[in-house]
């Protein structure tokens, strides 16, 4: 749907109205603020890995060579840049693209400026984050006990939180004295960058912005560089030996708190809870989660960044709170689940060697995660209630919704990580898991948000209905996790499903890039020439067809076009089926009296000539075939079964043809037929031919 939406808005853009309605500038700022915040956070989260055990031995090996701490710091920085720069660049470009074409400089200049500033922002954020993260972890690891370690992380989070009011302050007082900023810790980065952006883009005071930015980079860089050697040295291991007395106060508290757990799992959960309480990472994750919640609520509500605008209606505020709570708790849960498989991979062998060990462990792990996350978010809701962010009546429904969402998120994240476990080396697996998990989290966050906005409150029916659905999802996820752990090959960490799952998500990401992002870059051609048809043909050919043809020919070693005589019968059969399906669909449309535009993509014939429409359709269909029947089929070969590939590619095919439900079904069935022909003939020429004949027929009928 998202791809479709972007594509549709691109089409809207191309239909002649180059300048779309400008969204309020405050949204632009809040998006940028969020963006710079997460750029800062990314290296911070990845730096966590520096201090785990696997990294410790790698560090030992590295320091044994003539490599110095500074080299390690550089390496970390470079890897962060190479990993996150394209990632954030992609997201940033997508998010900010609606703003292209507005302002005083004209679309082209604004676009170039936006891209430049965005890249600059990413680099600053990543450099800062990379340099500062060892400093923070250094501070944490120097602390003697749990409480002071927790305090340091809390402090860091608190600084992140206060950067927001500061941001607001600077937006309001752009001409004020800014001398203080250079002395404030790195967490003000977001606000500072905002000032720079504000200065450079809106051209109020670019020089001040530039100088500040340079000073800021200098301070951070000198500090990180100066500390590099001690940061990476091996002498900073936590040396405190905690004696854990069985009868101690802490231990007794845990026993009391966990006595409500069913007896079967009580001991196991207790052990994992004990282990995680002693782990400073758990505590830092939670405080980061709290920080993210507050940040998001602030960034989106009318009491925060939008303070200048009118106060939002109550339901919008509530929606903001729900969205922030779900997304931030999802981050905490996700990090917890991901580090669990990294650290405990070898322990899974022992767990699996116990009778029914998988079930016992998974359930104990779920209980442990609930014990950690639930109270924190209940507290946040109570605090939000007390401070008037949510009304008295909404407090309890919100708690119920958050509770059930947390349970679902925990179960789903465990299922994902058991199906596709993460190794220390496999950043790509982690990334794919993250992508998948966040899509689910966004769905879980938007469902109640939509209901709240439409009905202005959380109805009891909705709570009941939603809880039931999430409960079912949770139970299924738990079963998947248990079965997955049972079937997991400890050697390869794979199970039957995991390979297929990984493949589907990988294909989806590649598809997403092909279908939307590459053509976006050739938008510039259009902005220069405003030749729509030429733009589409050139951009599609350049960005998609050529790489795909090269890939099929050189890497898959398959002929690009080939047509055997024996393919004729199956091709004709396919054509007959396609016509039949289209005819049936057309009949259905007529019977239920809908406009025929709901079946086929409508094209405004007034703007373009018939010839250009024909050229457009032909080019697009060839690219479609290269992607749906070419790339997806070749890429999935040997990884999915034949019928699974057909269904998978048809699903994607139908989603991109979404106009109405009936068009969705039509495209799905047509996709199945084309897929069947592709499997039977093993070649692209018959399906291109089929699609061509079919589309031309449709065009002749509707034009």
């Amino acid at each position: 749907m998202f791809f479709g939406y972007i594509l549709r808005s691109l089409f809207d853009l191309l239909r002649g109205e180059i300048i779309i309605v400008q969204p309020p500038i405050s949204i632009f700022y809040s998006i940028l603020a969020m963006f710079s915040y997460f750029t800062l956070f990314a290296p911070l989260l990845s730096a966590r890995v520096i201090y785990d055990n696997g990294a410790k031995s790698r560090r030992e090996v590295a320091l044994n060579t003539p490599v110095s701490g500074k080299d390690l710091l550089n390496g970390n920085l470079l890897s962060n840049l190479s990993f996150y720069l394209p990632f954030f660049g992609m997201i940033g470009t997508l998010v900010l693209s609606p703003f292209i074409g507005t302002g005083i400089f004209g679309p082209m200049a604004t676009a170039i400026m936006l891209f430049t500033v965005l890249s600059l922002l990413i680099i600053i954020g990543l450099v800062t984050g990379s340099l500062i993260s060892p400093v923070i972890f250094f501070l944490i690891s120097k602390q003697k006990n749990d409480v002071s370690r927790a305090m340091v992380t809390l402090l860091v989070s608190a600084m992140m939180i206060i950067s927001l009011p500061l941001l607001r302050f600077f937006l309001d007082n752009t001409t004020g004295d800014l001398g203080l900023i250079t002395y404030l810790p790195f967490t003000i980065a977001a606000s500072l960058m905002m000032y720079i952006l504000y200065g450079t883009i809106v051209a109020i005071n670019p020089i001040t912005g530039l100088i500040l930015m340079l000073v800021y980079i200098m301070v951070i860089f000198v500090n990180g560089w100066w500390r590099a050697d001690s940061l990476y040295s091996l002498s900073d291991e936590i040396s405190s030996i905690d004696n854990t007395e069985p009868g101690s106060k802490k231990s007794r508290t845990i026993d009391v708190l966990t006595s409500v757990i069913p007896k079967k799992y009580r001991h196991l959960s207790r052990s994992i809870i004990r282990a995680s309480i002693r782990d400073v990472e758990h505590i830092s994750r939670l405080s980061i989660g709290v920080a993210v919640t507050i940040f998001m609520i602030f960034a989106m509500s009318s009491r925060g960044l939008f303070r200048g605008t009118n106060t939002f209606p109550e339901e919008v505020e509530l929606a903001v709170v729900i969205f922030s709570l779900v997304i931030s708790s999802a981050s905490v849960i996700f990090i917890d689940a991901s580090s669990f498989t990294i650290q405990h991979r070898d322990m899974l062998t022992l767990i699996k060697s116990a009778p029914d060990g998988a079930r016992k462990f998974i359930i104990a792990k779920i209980i442990q995660m609930l014990y950690f996350i639930l109270p924190v978010f209940v507290t946040i809701i109570i605090v939000l209630g007390k401070t008037g962010f949510i009304s008295e009546g909404n407090q309890l429904p919100l708690m119920v919704i958050m509770g059930i969402t947390l349970i679902a998120l925990i179960c789903i994240s465990l299922a994902i990580y058991i199906i596709s476990p993460v190794d220390n080396q496999e950043d790509i697996t982690n990334f794919i898991n993250l992508l998948f998990f966040y899509v689910i989290s966004f769905i879980l966050a938007t469902a109640p948000v939509i209901v709240v906005i439409i009905f202005a409150k959380i109805t009891n029916y909705f709570i009941l209905f939603y809880s039931l659905i999430l409960l079912v999802i949770s139970i299924i996820s738990v079963f998947i996790a248990i079965k997955g752990l049972d079937e997991m090959d400890i050697e390869t960490l794979n199970s039957r499903y995991s390979l297929k799952f990984m493949h589907v998500v990988k294909t989806l990401s590649l598809f997403f890039i092909m279908w939307t992002i590459l053509p976006l870059f050739s938008l510039q051609y259009l902005l220069i020439t405003s030749d729509v048809i030429g733009f589409l043909i050139i951009s599609s050919l350049l960005s998609l067809s050529i790489p795909l043809v090269l890939w099929r020919y050189h890497i898959m070693n398959k002929p690009v076009f080939s047509f055997r005589k024996s393919d004729t019968a199956i091709t004709l059969k396919g054509l007959f089926l396609m016509y039949t399906v289209a005819f049936i669909m057309y009949l259905i449309v007529i019977i239920i009296d809908l406009n025929s535009n709901t079946l086929f993509m409508s094209i405004n014939a007034d703007i373009y000539s018939k010839t250009s429409i024909f050229i457009l359709v032909i080019v697009v269909l060839i690219i479609e075939e290269f992607i749906f029947r070419g790339f997806i089929f070749d890429f999935s070969e040997n990884r999915l079964d034949g019928w699974e590939i057909i269904i998978f590619s048809s699903l994607l095919f139908s989603v991109t043809h979404f106009i109405s439900l009936i068009s969705l079904i039509n495209a799905f069935v047509q996709g199945m037929i084309l897929g069947y022909v592709r499997i039977k003939t093993g070649s692209l020429s018959p399906v291109i031919l089929l699609h061509l004949v079919y589309n031309i027929t449709v065009l002749l009928l509707i034009l």
Partner: protein
């Protein structure tokens, strides 16, 4: 009774990872009361066989029964009567030794009293009783290995799989582990020791199984294998040359 029937019976057991055949149709019989050394090069398939027999992994094809329990249909029984010391292990770093042992023991549904008794007995033998409340992250490699040995024996298994049991231990502790193994010899239990170090098994094992590239090359008593050679090492090298 089921239980008293013969030891381990393996019938054309195979395991394939992607394209690699880790175990190629293995057929074996191991009697009760035996201590068996499973010898082979790195990557010969030792760990895979041990994991299959302890129920941690499922075979690609073939069957095996452990004391009469089938690894397909009676998997939970197999897990209950077997103990595993994996080659690679990660312990909960943030638990004390006793808490960790208790955690694993609870996976076997043992009661508190039994855990306490067994832990005291084993930790005394392995000389880590005074470390009971020490955090695992502060232990040395050898001490961690001892903890792993305790967890593999805590539920008094009838069949024990040791994957490289003494590779990290000091000389004294090596002797202790050998002592424990010897004690088992007098019972009717089975111990399988997978290792690439022949010196580990020469004195403590009855039988030897030599495995290479997923196939069994030799299965018989140590004396039979040694024949006229003075040491096991010489016999092994000669044997490999012959093939």
């Amino acid at each position: 009774m089921y239980y008293l029937q013969d030891g381990i019976k393996i019938n054309s057991l195979s395991k394939t990872f992607a394209d690699v055949k880790a175990l190629d149709s293995i057929t074996l019989k191991i009697n009760r009361g035996k201590i068996v050394g499973l010898v082979g090069k790195n990557g010969a398939g030792k760990s895979t066989l041990v994991r299959l027999l302890s129920g941690v992994m499922k075979p690609t094809s073939g069957t095996a029964t452990i004391l009469g329990f089938d690894i397909h249909s009676n998997i939970d029984d197999v897990k209950r009567i077997t103990g595993l010391l994996p080659e690679e292990y990660a312990l909960y770093e943030k638990l004390s030794i006793f808490e960790y042992v208790e955690f694993i023991a609870k996976l076997y549904d043992l009661s508190d009293n039994i855990i306490e008794d067994r832990f005291n007995e084993l930790s005394k033998k392995l000389d880590i009783m005074n470390l009971r409340n020490r955090m695992i992250e502060t232990l040395s490699k050898g001490q961690k290995q001892k903890v792993a040995i305790i967890t593999s024996l805590i539920h008094e298994p009838d069949v024990v799989f040791f994957d490289e049991p003494i590779s990290n231990l000091d000389v004294q502790s090596q002797r202790v582990v050998k002592q424990i193994i010897k004690e088992y010899r007098n019972s009717s239990k089975i111990i399988i020791i997978a290792t690439h170090l022949l010196s580990n098994i020469e004195t403590s094992c009855d039988d030897i199984i030599i495995i290479d590239a997923g196939k069994i090359l030799f299965n018989g008593s140590i004396d039979e294998f040694k024949k006229s050679h003075d040491t096991l090492e010489n016999a092994y090298l000669d044997y490999l040359e012959e093939i």
